[in-house]
Amino acid sequence: MIEVSDACFSYGEGDVLDHVSLSVGAGERVVLLGANGSGKSTLSRLLNGSLEPTSGNVLVDGRTDGLARLVGYVRQDPRNQIVSSVVLDEVAFGPRNLGLSREEVLRRVDEALDACGIGELRNRATSELSGGQQQLVAIAGVLAMRPRYLVLDEVGAHLDVAARGRVNEVVERLVGSGVGVLEIAHDPLALFGAARAVVMEGGRVAWQGTPRELLKSDDARARAGFGEDSVARALSIAARRGLSLDLRPEPHAVARYLVREDACAFGQSHTKALFRPFLASKMAFARGSHFSLRDVSLDLRGLTLVLGPSGSGKTTLARLLAGVMSPDAGDVLLDGRPVRAGRVGLAFQRPGDQLFCETVYDDIAYGPRARGASERDVDAAVRAAAARLGVGEELFDRSPFDLSGGQMRRVALAGVVACESGAYVFDEPTAGLDGPSRAELRRLVHGLVEGGDPVVLVTHDAGEWLEEATSVAFLRDGAVVQQVEAHVAASSPELFVAVGLEAPFMVELRAELEGGAEHA
């Protein structure tokens, strides 16, 4: 049993944790929810002893020291956890630190690889694996130390639906074998199979109860950051009508508690605006076997989602559309003219990747200045972009690297918008964001599209964007398999399966509801 009683913690000024108490039993799965900055990660760092509470205490099976051996910790981004360049060596890292014999280390490596179902990856290079495989390797590396408890810090954030499912199966088996699991999550589907849900807010435990109670309570759902989440809304309707959350999240089981009319309540908005023409025609690109696209033609007006498994050419496509790479054949035309670098805005998930000036003002001004605009025009462009993205002018003299994650993202986007690009490409913009931040980004994108600018979004989190999107392009092996209208994709799981993806939960649920109505 992990017992946190009355723990406080502070990094210097102000309490990050304010008299928090929490327990996780053996074989129990507890979900920890709350906004970014609510103290979830700090609390989880107390559990394995990497942080010590300033007051109160943390007991793991009655002990207060050597907690790292008892509590394994898996991070959000496996690339920040993997130490070695070979899988075998990576999984052996933990047991080798425990002073075990060579034979015992190797035995544990095999055992952990088997438990995660990745025995065949034993001798592969870690950098060549997909994100999902890397996360399984990271988990195996922790399991090889035979922890009694596991802390999972948003382990699904960077994974697609199928990989998330595989990780979830492994965790389920572990819980079944008696390992206690504390899972930090931003995904309402994490509630399935959990014994308890704990919601943090401002360093305190704001709410605690069973997942079903959470879904039934509007207040608890909002505190957990699920206020604008359509999956949570659907689950909450089903939970009120008696849905049990003990098992896996199966769309058909949830659909049994819903009727077709409920689908309207999940939300399906449509943007109506004059779209600027943004077209890719017969585009081809080849660099070795990994980075090739062939005969790609797309109509990118409005908000286009680009979906496909890893290695399908999504990132290459994003760069070609943004004009930072040139296709070998074919064209990308915006307003009838070929795109070139600087005419199409490009933004990545981590805002830090695109900030490089000393002050916020200079950073936003970089694009207009590079274009050779006069200082007066630059100033006007900076202020307009800052206002559009809600960057306060009081931040102009700060260094962009001193800002909080949310502020940094606004500044980075303001820098892109200030270029007056006219079209935007986002590459995996929401990975690792909490519910409110994702909703905010959706609003930003919505604003751009409403303004008439085409936006292309490459993502593995299709579910939440389908309601906003105009069309969806499915990619596989460097070719566009299909481009369909978003409302069609929103209830057609088979389109996802056809390119080797698993459909988002919401898509499956809509299909169940619509299919059910036809049978009736």
Partner: protein, 252 residues
């Protein structure tokens, strides 16, 4: 995002050299390097060349890869041959002796590069680190943190692909904002790299912090169980053979 094959980068495979214990390979590389510089021309060098041919065959490395590996140093090597062959001081002219001397040095360097490439392309980075740790083990007695050194080497090698990826992403984002990174004179290009470096370094420090705490989470203290077992007899035989051949070449 485009990763050209770097000569000498580890290439997975199962050649005889891939299967050989990293400690044996490391020792052989060390011995071969010393012998290459000690061996007299032409017979000793010929013996070393035969040795390199054997290593290339045993690792299925093509001689072209060795030439690729020499390319970055080509200018310096050409200059050194030229400066040996041309006499500028006193009586200016051409010196055949100098030419031979210069050519021999280049030969030796090419041989060593060849040995190093056949080692590095058949040994994964963690095995290199393990091999280093094993060979440096005696230094532990005089207080050298052998485990930590080997671990740093291994982590550094692991970070190379991540860094390449990161640089590429940052450059793309900056070019999309109108930064002209590949145009203008050398000074402008240098400035362009400067603005890539800021976010890169910030990003790498954040990553390093995160990795360090991930290592602490997994109980890393500096000392680890050695993963390499005792050497097999076959491997000892290979090692002794290689040492004998190198000594013979050096003493010819």
């Amino acid at each position: 995002m485009l990763r050209p094959r770097v000569p000498g980068a580890y290439a997975p495979g199962s050649t005889p050299l891939h299967r050989l214990d990293p400690r044996v390979k490391l020792m052989m590389l060390l011995v071969a390097t010393v012998a290459t510089f000690a061996a007299p021309a032409p017979l000793g060098l010929l013996m070393m060349t035969v040795g390199l041919a054997a290593a290339l065959v045993a690792s299925r490395t093509s001689p072209a890869t060795v030439l690729m590996g020499l390319r970055p140093a080509a200018v310096v090597l050409a200059l050194s041959v030229a400066s040996n062959a041309l006499v500028l001081v006193g009586q200016p002219g051409f010196s055949p002796d100098g030419l031979v001397r210069g050519a021999l040095v280049v030969c030796r360097i090419a041989l060593v590069v060849g040995f190093a490439l056949s080692f590095s392309s058949t040994t994964p980075p963690p095995a290199i680190a393990d091999g280093l740790a094993a060979l440096m083990a005696p230094l532990r007695r005089v207080g050298v943190p052998v485990g930590a050194i080997a671990m740093s080497a291994s982590v550094a090698l692991r970070f190379i692909p991540l860094t390449v990826e990161e640089v590429d992403r940052i450059r793309c984002a900056q070019r999309a904002r109108g930064a002209l990174l590949d145009e203008g004179g050398p000074l402008r290009r240098l400035r362009g790299w400067g603005q890539v470096l800021v976010p890169l370094v910030v990003g790498l420090f954040r990553r390093a912090d995160e990795l360090a705490s991930a290592m602490t989470d997994r109980c890393y203290t500096g000392e680890q169980t050695a993963l390499l077992g005792p050497l097999a007899r076959r491997e000892l035989v290979v090692l002794i053979g290689a040492v004998a051949w190198a000594v013979a070449a050096a003493l010819l």
